[in-house]
Amino acid sequence: MGAFGRHPVARRFGEAAVTLVGVSILTFVLLRVVPGDQITAAYGTAAGDLSPEQLQALEAYYGVNEPLLSQYLGWLGGVLTGNLGVSATSHLSVLSMTAQSLPNTVELAVLAIMIGLALGIPGGMLAASRPGRARDQISQVTSLVALSVPSFLLAAVVSSWLVNTVGWYPNGEGYRTLSEDPGLNLQQMLLPALVLGISIAPPILQTTRAAILTVRSEDYVRTARAKGVSGRRLQVRHILRNALIPVVTMSGLQFGFLLGGALVVEQIFAIPGIGRQVLLGLEQKEYAVVQSTVLVIAVMFVLVNLLTDVLYRLVDPRVRVQ
């Protein structure tokens, strides 16, 4: 490796590669430890009706008759050459399935993080403006409640309320992508993005509040104040900008989670995203689908973390110097 191996960026990539291999092995092993296989998943108890010859044919069809190591290496070799495998249920390649589902998940994640930030940052600023006072306590309690309510419950309550009052439920229409029908797509994304946004706003709010309180007591803020900087300029340029560093970290993490597919919310609102792809793969025990999709999610997660590092450098000049 030499000098290259010590370069921070190269090292990060090396770590990322090790992480991804680890994820792939873990997924592979876990899938096979869990009881049942593709045959029992597809045939249920009727699998008992299959003759030995039929079973052999099926095992060969699903490729589960090979030794584990060659199954793993075969799959990994495929992935490295861009072949993520084929779903035995839909007869589509995992690559093309992912090409369809990933944009939906990314769109949902972007909308949700926007809602989360729009609720969390002003909420945190509001709470921090008078610590310990009514507005602080109200935002703290509200965020605690938002954090505690399970997203599936919130989703069910909000949607059935809307159905029963105004008869509006766009998610019952067939799903339309943003390019097919932007109007319907945004309607279909509204409820899931709102539910997800509400569930990620609390940690953003808490982080913002804590960061602002810390930054406010820093020397440079006092200096700025002494120099006569006040009001909006002080709040935004000197306090908020510096307080944003931990908020960026937190949001990056949340965004990474969202890209992993908000499984429950995608399931409830019938959004054909990457989380549902994993879930369906799991239900049908489609090894290739689960392994490859989880790997895609892991890659996204690693990428978002790298991007967050870059964002740091933009927000905080000190990181750039180091």
Binding site: V34, P35, A42, D49, Q54, W168, G174, Y175, G261
Partner: protein, 516 residues
């Protein structure tokens, strides 16, 4: 990942896979008459399903959704009437030779596949031979276990020769799993592009979202009502309810009475239908705890079936004996303890040499169908009254299926598919050579003889007493404890017209309905 961080939530499949067996046995009903067409002839009917169909080739179809979709695209050789009894379809009911070994079918004239080719005897022969071929891994292969040969002497005649008489043979030809595929289309291509002779033709599929079918104007039984049928995948039950209420989905089937009730509104109507499948407490007589028939009878007597229905299934079911086939249905009252009888249960326990009861390990499933865990808990409470301590083990559906197939349990809560033929229902379980005899855990020389007699007798009236005797033997020995047949709920928007009321939840006659 976000799933672990947020609250785990498992949605239940609207219909259990196990039910598939029940639907297998029912095919298209009501041929020869035109469908009622009062609505918009160009309407689209949206049918909500909880999961993407897992299989698209008829003979491999086991999931409920696959059967629902494929029953619109394909036709089996024979149909069943609204009661589930076999009747003419693509062919007339067969002529059976004196010795009961030769079945001669005469095909209807002028039937075509979606690709325009004629449906003739070569297609029937091709389909059945494909099913028998182990390489196809057909779940319906067992229906053809007795088949010695299939001949197609002329385009309209199919002759099937059996190795020995098999009275249940005809009922096997009524389901989607034996539906006829064209002989000149490669089976592999049917996986992505089905070609059948059913009321609708495959148009397009978006995996995990929808499958769209268009009307087959040449359908042999009449012109289908809706121009287009879309099967839309909506995995979440609540979401399905919302979609029905707002009218974006026209029709869906639920097994949960509470959900069905919330889905019923000013816009929708709910129809309750029976099912051929049955819920049962499977006891394995070969396990040490249940070896003594008295121990098993004690369990039968300690259980109130109505109580199980009321508490676990919220009243949605009817107490049942072993056989649910419409023509052979068991009398649910004909068993040693038709009602709960705790004194009698204690007597049986004493006879079994366990007056203070015993410990029973009971396996149940999560995710296969909605009532399984509640049934186990209710039975746990009921058996506790006579000192039988029940350890309930609730397993994930895959783990449950694996243990069930391996016969690795003492007792299990199960929902098994029914059939219009009683031999199809039980010879696999309760004959020594049956493929599931190890799972069922009970057999006897008397039963083996009765099953052999039942299948060698082709006359329905003569078969009835034989199956009555089988049914009686099973409950007298408490081979299992049969609980109830469930009710299903077909919820449809009021704009759907001409929907045929059936005795089961099959949607084989969906083609008669239209949307206004």
């Amino acid at each position: 990942m976000s799933t672990q961080r947020r609250h785990g939530h498992r949605t239940r499949a609207t219909l259990a896979t196990a039910l598939a067996g029940g639907l297998l046995a029912t095919g298209l009903a009501g041929c020869g008459s035109d469908g009622e067409q009062t609505g918009d002839a160009n309407g689209t009917l949206v049918f909500g399903i909880s999961a993407d169909p897992a299989q698209m080739v008829p003979w491999t179809a086991t999931s409920t959704q696959s059967i629902q979709v494929l029953s619109q695209i394909y036709s089996p050789l024979l149909n069943t009437d609204a009661e589930g009894v076999p009747e003419a379809g693509l062919a007339e009911l067969p002529e059976i030779s004196e010795d009961g070994k030769t079945y001669t079918f005469t095909l209807r004239e002028g039937v075509t596949f979606g690709d325009g080719s004629d449906l003739d005897s070569a297609d029937v022969k091709h389909t059945y031979e494909k099913i028998i071929d182990p390489a196809s891994s057909a779940s319906s292969a067992s229906y053809f276990a007795n088949v010695a040969g299939i001949e197609a002497p002329d385009p309209r005649t199919v002759v099937v020769t059996l190795k020995q008489p098999d009275a249940s043979f005809v009922s096997g030809l009524t389901g989607v799993n034996t539906a006829i595929v064209p002989s000149d289309v490669d089976a592999k291509s049917l996986e992505t592009k089905p070609v059948g002779s059913g009321p609708y033709q495959f148009k397009s599929r978006t995996p995990n979202e929808s499958i769209t079918l268009t009307r087959n104007a040449d359908y042999y039984a009449g012109e289908p009502g809706a121009a287009t049928v879309e099967f839309r995948v909506i995995p979440d039950e609540q979401s399905m309810v919302s979609s029905l209420k707002t009218g974006s989905v026209h029709m869906a089937i639920f097994d949960n009475p509470v959900t069905a009730k919330t889905a019923t509104s000013g816009q929708t109507e709910s129809m309750t239908v029976d099912s051929l499948s049955y819920h049962v407490l499977q006891l394995r007589a070969t396990s040490p705890t249940l070896k003594d028939p008295n121990a098993r009878l004690a369990i039968q007597c300690a259980i109130s079936r109505q109580d199980v229905i009321d508490s676990a299934a919220l009243g949605a079911g009817k107490p049942s004996g072993p056989i649910t086939s419409p023509e052979f249905r068991s009398d649910p009252e004909a068993q040693p303890c038709p009602e709960q009888d705790l004194d009698k249960a204690k007597d049986y326990l004493a006879k079994a040499g366990k007056p203070d009861g015993f410990t029973l390990n009971l396996m149940t499933s999560q995710g296969l169908y909605s009532t399984a865990v509640d049934e186990a808990q209710n039975i746990q409470a009921q058996l506790g009254k006579v000192g039988i301590k029940v350890n309930v083990e609730a397993l994930d559906s895959n783990a449950y299926v694996e243990r069930w197939l391996a016969a690795d349990f003492d007792a299990a809560i199960a929902m098994n598919g029914g059939s219009s033929d009683p031999n199809t229902m039980y010879s696999r379980y309760f004959t020594k050579a049956g493929s599931f005899n190890k799972v069922a855990g009970y057999s006897s020389p008397e039963l083996d003889k009765l099953f052999a007699d039942g299948i060698a007798t082709t006359d329905t009236a003569a078969r009835k007493p034989i199956y009555e005797e089988i049914s009686q033997h099973l409950v007298d020995q408490a081979a299992w404890v049969w609980l109830f047949t469930p009710e299903m709920y077909v919820v449809a928007n009021k704009s759907v017209e001409g929907l045929e009321e059936r005795a089961d939840a099959s949607i084989a006659t969906l083609w008669k309905a239209s949307v206004s």
